[in-house]
């Protein structure tokens, strides 16, 4: 194993690793904590929970986000729920089962020790959130309610109507604001991190741009935590927020942090289909809908009849047919690919034939409209608002869309990247979900990282490392500031003919066509030829109006799209090199006779980690081998 990729997995049986590791950690004297500054970039579930927990421990803290308030991080949009192995329903759940499901669901491309810890801490998360006042759904007796969710056969998902992410984030946000009010933490909203600063090989701060005044400044620190979310917007259309971006992790990558499994991108099966070229984003319809909705398309190609005129016998409930034991609850990668397949066969519905039905007629008959309204009222409303169709009367139309990125900066067991002092939490890191994330497990991971892992491991780093005092007058900071300002000036000076958005759409289409739900060598090779051409044109022909010294949204976008244009290439490269199918990464050359993903454990049971080697150089591909001591490698089967 490469020395650079020591995962630092503690010894001992899997169930004892985390406790043992916590005991062996170095502690920081409470009086000394004040002397250490920790920067958290991002205020989503991972960032807000990390910042609030650590400020409470007595460190000096600063937290940054690009929105106008930390409460607006995209975690706010999560709908369905959060998993925890509480086994409150007594249906056979346990830490071990959640661990097992997550490793298997990730198609054996995640690290066992991390996943086990995730399952363990899931128990504390629910306790913590309830203590903060998160209004989870309740049974009539006052106990917490659960539902089953995306590919799980036990009911372990906790939820707050269709707004679970919102409520969890508000809990973390309130804890964070409390620390701000007490003066322990400073919050910098409307501030974008544009570079990471290293001194003596360690992460010692960041360079940021004030998005209101345009001022570029530096913040020095002992530890930097990136919790900047996912990079799904590299596809232009996704369920992410418009501002979601890869800039923070990309700049860190270019400073030396390894980027793990960039090609593992999750395409979510239940989104509202695109309605036209003007579309600016895609809207997710929570997967929980698949608990009661049945997915189908007409059996006949090109059947243009309205859904209610297609008799039962002429409908193909293809998930129930192909995966009788999981049916409509099959995992996301499988459900998405199955939808693509039936649409490719010409059996898709709605404009352009890119859609399948999600039908609630049976559930309404069985449970009554009232129950369905109680369970999904706000989702049905949202659907109707966007499509002008009433899903209580006609089946919803759904289609897969880019949703989540399992890849991200490589981290060890302590969530530290290949750069000492740079920790990465939440969707921004690569850990835990392997090649496919199960529903309701990203919220769990974000909060596990932020509340329960980072506070310990950052303390351990500070306690065991001799850190010289540095401040922002160090030449490493002034050099980085200059580079950031020069890049901004360059973008503004191009004065070309095309808008930033037009380049973003063009890149997105290439990514979707060649590196989407199904990938192959020819397509990926082609994408690797055209992405550099788009990038080239961008730097010659983009038009960024306005100046650097003001609120300039076109400039913000330009910087982010410039980074996506580089990341897109790395994603395709990673997809090309991974000559197997696993989870969300489906290579058409590698499938079983019945069309399922065909893994190649002999050659690819590893994390692929990309190391930057300079402008226009092919990055180096390193491997962290994965060992499965507890869950036996097997072909995932949901039949």
């Amino acid at each position: 194993m490469s020395a650079r990729l020591d995962a630092r997995i503690p010894g001992g049986p899997i169930a004892e690793k985390w406790d043992r590791h916590k005991f062996e950690m170095k502690l920081v004297n409470p009086a000394n904590k004040r002397k250490h500054t920790i920067l958290v970039v991002g205020s989503g579930l991972a960032g807000a929970s990390a910042a609030a927990s650590r400020a409470a421990l007595g460190y000096q803290g600063k937290c940054f986000c690009f929105q106008d308030s930390p409460r607006r991080a995209h975690s706010i949009a999560a709908q369905g729920g959060i998993n925890a192995a509480k086994n409150y329903q007594n249906d056979g759940d346990s830490v071990y089962r959640l661990f097992y499901d997550t490793v298997k669901g990730g198609d054996f491309r995640s690290r066992e020790a991390n996943v086990y810890r995730l399952a363990q801490t899931s128990l504390n998360i629910i306790d913590q959130c309830v203590a903060q006042g998160v209004p989870f759904a309740r049974e009539y007796g006052g106990l917490l309610a659960n539902r089953s969710f995306g590919g799980a056969q036990v009911s372990r998902t906790f939820y707050a109507r269709g707004q679970t992410g919102q409520q969890l984030l508000l809990g973390a946000y309130q804890a964070l604001e409390r620390q701000v009010g007490l003066g322990h933490l400073r919050m910098y909203p409307r501030t974008e991190m544009l570079d990471l600063v290293l001194i003596d090989g360690r992460a010692r701060g960041i360079v940021v741009r004030d998005l209101v005044t345009g001022e570029v400044t530096s913040h020095a620190a002992d530890v930097v935590v990136l919790a900047t979310g996912g990079y799904g917007n590299v596809f232009y259309l996704s369920t992410n927020a418009k501002g979601s971006n890869c800039t923070a992790i990309w700049r860190a990558y270019k400073r030396g942090a390894g980027f793990a499994n960039p090609c593992f991108t999750q395409i979510h099966p239940t989104c509202i289909p695109q309605s036209g070229e003007h579309q600016s984003k895609l809207t997710l319809m929570s997967e929980s809908l698949r608990n009661d909705g049945r997915v189908w398309v007409p059996k006949q190609k090109g059947d243009a009849r309205p859904p209610n005129q297609i008799p039962e016998a002429e409908r193909d409930y293809y998930l129930e047919r192909k995966y009788p034991s999981f049916g409509n609850l099959s995992p996301r990668d499988i459900a998405s690919r199955a939808a693509k397949e039936v649409c490719d066969e010409g059996r898709g519905v709605g404009p352009g034939g890119r859609g399948v039905y999600l039908d609630f007629a049976d559930a309404i008959k069985r449970l009554g409209e009232h129950t369905i309204r109680e369970r999904y009222g706000n989702l049905f409303e949202m659907y109707e608002r966007i499509t002008a169709e009433n899903p209580y009367r006609v089946p919803m139309r759904i289609y897969p869309a880019v949703h989540y990125t399992m890849g991200g900066l490589w981290v060890d067991y302590n969530l530290m990247s290949t750069i000492p002092g740079l920790h990465v939490a939440g969707e921004a890191n690569f850990s835990d979900h392997g090649a496919n994330r199960l529903g309701a497990s990203a919220l769990m991971q974000g909060l596990a990282d932020g509340y329960f892992v980072i506070p310990y491991t950052v303390g351990d780093y500070i306690g065991s490392t001799k850190l010289e005092r540095v401040d922002a007058s160090h030449p490493a900071f002034t050099d980085a500031e200059r580079a950031v300002s020069e890049r901004t000036a360059t973008l503004l000076a191009i004065e070309g003919k095309r808008t930033v958005d037009s380049f973003h759409r063009e890149l997105g289409k290439v990514m979707w066509d060649y590196c989407g739900m199904a990938r192959n060598e020819t397509g990926l090779t082609h994408a690797l030829e055209i992405i550099p051409q788009i990038r080239d044109e961008f730097w010659r022909n983009v038009d960024v109006p306005g100046s650097a010294a003001e609120l300039n949204q076109a400039l913000e976008k330009a910087g982010r799209v410039a980074d996506f244009l580089e990341l897109g290439e790395l994603i395709c490269r990673d997809a090309l090199e991974r000559r197997e199918s696993c989870g969300a990464h489906f290579r058409e050359e590698f499938e079983t006779p019945d069309g399922e993903a065909l893994r190649d454990d002999a050659h690819f049971s590893h994390v692929a980690v990309w190391q930057y080697r300079g402008e226009n150089q092919t990055p180096e591909r390193l491997e962290e081998p994965l060992e499965f001591e507890n869950v036996h490698l097997s072909q995932r089967s949901y039949k």
């Binding site: 509480k86 959130c129 804890a175």
Partner: protein, 257 residues
């Protein structure tokens, strides 16, 4: 469809603002209001003009970042709908549409349609939380919450912090916003210990910001994209009176050895 937009343009916080008129052409009914604004901005950039600055992020009606006065109504004509969830099919081809930023003393304009809502964060920082240090929580199911209390808490907690309530209020009051948080935390058993302090501190902070008082116009509820009920304000007022009567000075902590 085609629209004539009269958009408030203001270069900075202290600059004078004015309406500029733009034609929005080729607009489809399936476009959201913000997608219509995107299209206008693309054409402005292509013509060498500055695009209109406006806040937005999730475009799913939940992050609370977007918001504009549309024909004088916060978030526009559809009830219980944030600007990003308003679709152009609800307008008539050829309409003139007036677009302005939130107008409130506590929300100074930063640029064009972008305003500074940081006062909301400060109101939360003053007391809009339950103190629950990480790690010390007891098992979640040892706290029973009746389903109806949980539902009431969730109804109030649905607030997205967009500021439409303040913009719609003739007094620029933040009572619906603060009341929603006070109601959310105040109906839960976990929120009782800090209930009195919470309301006193949040109201003191609101007064310190430039928010006005509530005189029961009810415009806030009409404008609210989550249709938060006016009950939360009544509840806040009740909590406030009770807290005023019953709160004593905090006792000094005595360290005995």
């Amino acid at each position: 469809m085609k629209f004539t937009l009269h958009v408030w343009r203001q270069a900075g916080p202290t600059a004078a603002g004015a309406f500029s008129t733009y034609e929005a052409t080729d607009i489809s009914g399936d476009m959201s209001f913000l997608e219509m604004m995107d299209a206008v901005n693309e054409s402005l950039i292509e013509r060498g003009e500055q695009p209109v600055a406006f806040d937005h992020d999730c475009r799913e009606g939940i992050c609370g970042m977007c918001g504009m006065m549309i024909n004088g109504i916060a978030h526009g004509p559809m009830r219980a709908t944030a600007t990003c969830q308003l679709f152009m099919r609800h307008f008539t081809d050829g309409d003139a549409i007036y677009i302005e930023p939130w107008r409130a003393r506590a929300f100074p304009v930063i640029k064009d349609l972008v305003v500074d809502r940081s006062a909301f964060d400060r109101v939360i920082a003053a007391g809009g939380y339950i103190t629950a240090p990480t790690g010390g929580a007891r098992d979640a199911n040892t706290i029973l919450v009746s389903k109806s209390d949980a539902d009431d808490a969730m109804d109030a907690a649905a607030c997205i912090g967009c500021g439409a309530c303040v913009a719609a209020c003739p007094n620029g009051s933040a009572s619906l916003f603060a009341g929603a948080k006070i109601a959310h935390l105040g109906v839960l058993p976990q929120g009782q210990a800090e209930r009195r302090q919470r309301v006193l501190r949040m109201i003191a902070q609101m007064d310190e910001e430039a928010f006005g008082g509530c005189t029961w116009h009810g415009e806030c509820h009409e404008a609210c994209p989550k249709a938060i009920s006016l009950d939360v304000i009544a509840r806040m007022n009740g909590d406030y009176l009770r807290a005023l009567w019953t709160t004593h000075e905090e006792k000094q902590e005595q360290g005995a050895g």
